[in-house]
């Protein structure tokens, strides 16, 4: 339960992985504040989610969605607040961030071998299953530079899954892709949802959020303005700001 308590803020990682049941709290964020050089990106956000839940975070750019997501796995150090995390995280980035000097297989197997000390033969077998899951078995020995953006993102998902995370974080996974190939990535995420993977998805894909998420958070100016089921958020938005936002994104 050790966590840095330097400036009244901390990410507390609880080692309770085996005991975690569906419905148990997997993540609890209390009063998260993140400031960049005095500019407040996240302004006192609290929320918690249960194992197996799928949370979509929507909102205009600059609303603090990504910053909030990145604070969960420590890519951003929060200025204040507390994060209780029961389990491990995997992350998928907007710009994939694959390792260009490794083949797709190498990308998937590198961290399990180095971090978890998994045997190469074992993880390669697992990697083949993951390549199957994302539909890219034939790209096993190809370098990321030789595949399309949609394929890259699917390899990035497989890479994150290879570490067997309890919670998957998606940071605008389709925003850097051409509209006609976002579907291939979204369908992989849909498959994960069907396998009851816990997921937080920062996205601009409203239709996808509506179909897949259990809960939707709408963020604006660093705060959660509205929160509810997809039906509530998209069907019956209460705040003016959310109504404006939905009007703006659907009329694109």
């Amino acid at each position: 339960m050790a966590g840095k308590k330097a400036s009244g803020s901390a990410v507390v990682r609880h080692e309770l992985k085996e005991n975690l049941q569906a419905g148990d709290t997997i993540l609890e964020m209390k009063n998260i504040v993140k400031k960049f050089d005095g500019v407040t990106a996240v302004d006192g956000v609290s929320f918690s989610m249960k194992k197996g839940e799928i949370v979509a975070i929507i909102g205009p750019s600059g609303s603090g969605k990504s910053t909030l997501l990145r604070s969960i796995n420590g890519l951003e150090n929060i200025t204040d607040g507390e994060i209780d995390l029961y389990g491990t995280t995997g992350m998928v980035f907007q710009h994939f961030n694959l390792f260009p000097h490794m083949t797709c297989l190498g990308n998937i197997t590198y961290a399990p071998i180095k971090v978890n000390g998994v045997k190469k033969a074992d993880i390669e077998k697992r990697a083949e299953e993951l390549l199957e899951l994302v539909g890219l078995v034939d790209k096993r020995d190809v370098y990321p530079g030789q595949i399309s953006g949609g394929q890259k993102q699917r390899i990035a998902i497989a890479r994150a899954l290879a570490m067997d995370p309890d919670l998957m974080l998606f940071d605008e996974p389709t925003s850097a892709l051409d509209p006609e190939i976002t579907g291939t990535v979204l369908s992989v995420m849909q498959k994960l949802a069907e396998q009851d993977m816990s997921m937080i998805i920062v996205t601009h894909e409203m239709q996808f959020a509506r179909n897949v998420a259990d809960r939707v958070l709408f963020m604006n100016k660093g705060k959660i303005v509205e929160e509810g089921t997809p039906e509530e958020i998209f069907g019956n938005p209460k705040s003016e700001r959310l109504r404006d936002f939905l009007k703006a994104v659907t009329s694109r």
């Binding site: 995997g90 390792f99 260009p100 590198y110 180095k114 971090v115 370098y143 530079g145």
Partner: protein
Amino acid sequence: MISDFISSFITEFTDLMDYVGILMPTLLAGAWVMVQLFCWTLLLSLPLGLPIALGSNVRFWPIRAFCRFYVFVFRGTPLLLQLYFFYFLLPIQFDIRLPALTTSIITFVLNYAAYFAEIYRGGINGIDRGQYEAAKALGLSKMQTMVGIVLPQTMKIILPPVSNEAIVLVKDTALASAIGLGELMKASKGAVNRDVDPTAYFVVAVIYLMFTFILTLASNRLEKRFKRYDERAVS
């Protein structure tokens, strides 16, 4: 008329070849010294540059300050001055008498490590922040990230400037003649002064060119090997 010209040409050419043949043992001995200086310098300064490059980026300021000061001094003063400095400093201040080759190697290694450190530093800084973030998100340690993710990609970036430095080094070895090292330059200068004939300079130029040509071929081949993971147009 024409046959006269041809026969005189042949005579002159064979005379020239005879003279070059006489020069050759001296020049080849000089070339061998040059090769030793070149190889030792590369062998030692290439690895020495890495801790200096990494040290220039650490948060702990005394190490950072030392590494940056090191580069500032060795990159900011003439190599010739450094050669003279060590040539006189070691025997006079410390009573250490070393052969000219050893003094040259020490000086060249210290000097080139500073250049390589700056090349490495630029390469490391050129790695996208997303690579560090992906590594961190996967739980890789800082060491694993540096060794497994950052440095292999840095290799590709630094290869052209490092090859360039290696070619500069071939020519810089000539400076060691200033402290009496019997390398190519000194060997040829001796012959030219003795025979009042610039032929030796011409031969030496050809030898330098051969070396730089070989290095160019080698670096092209290495660069090709790193191209395998280049970004390609995907249909």
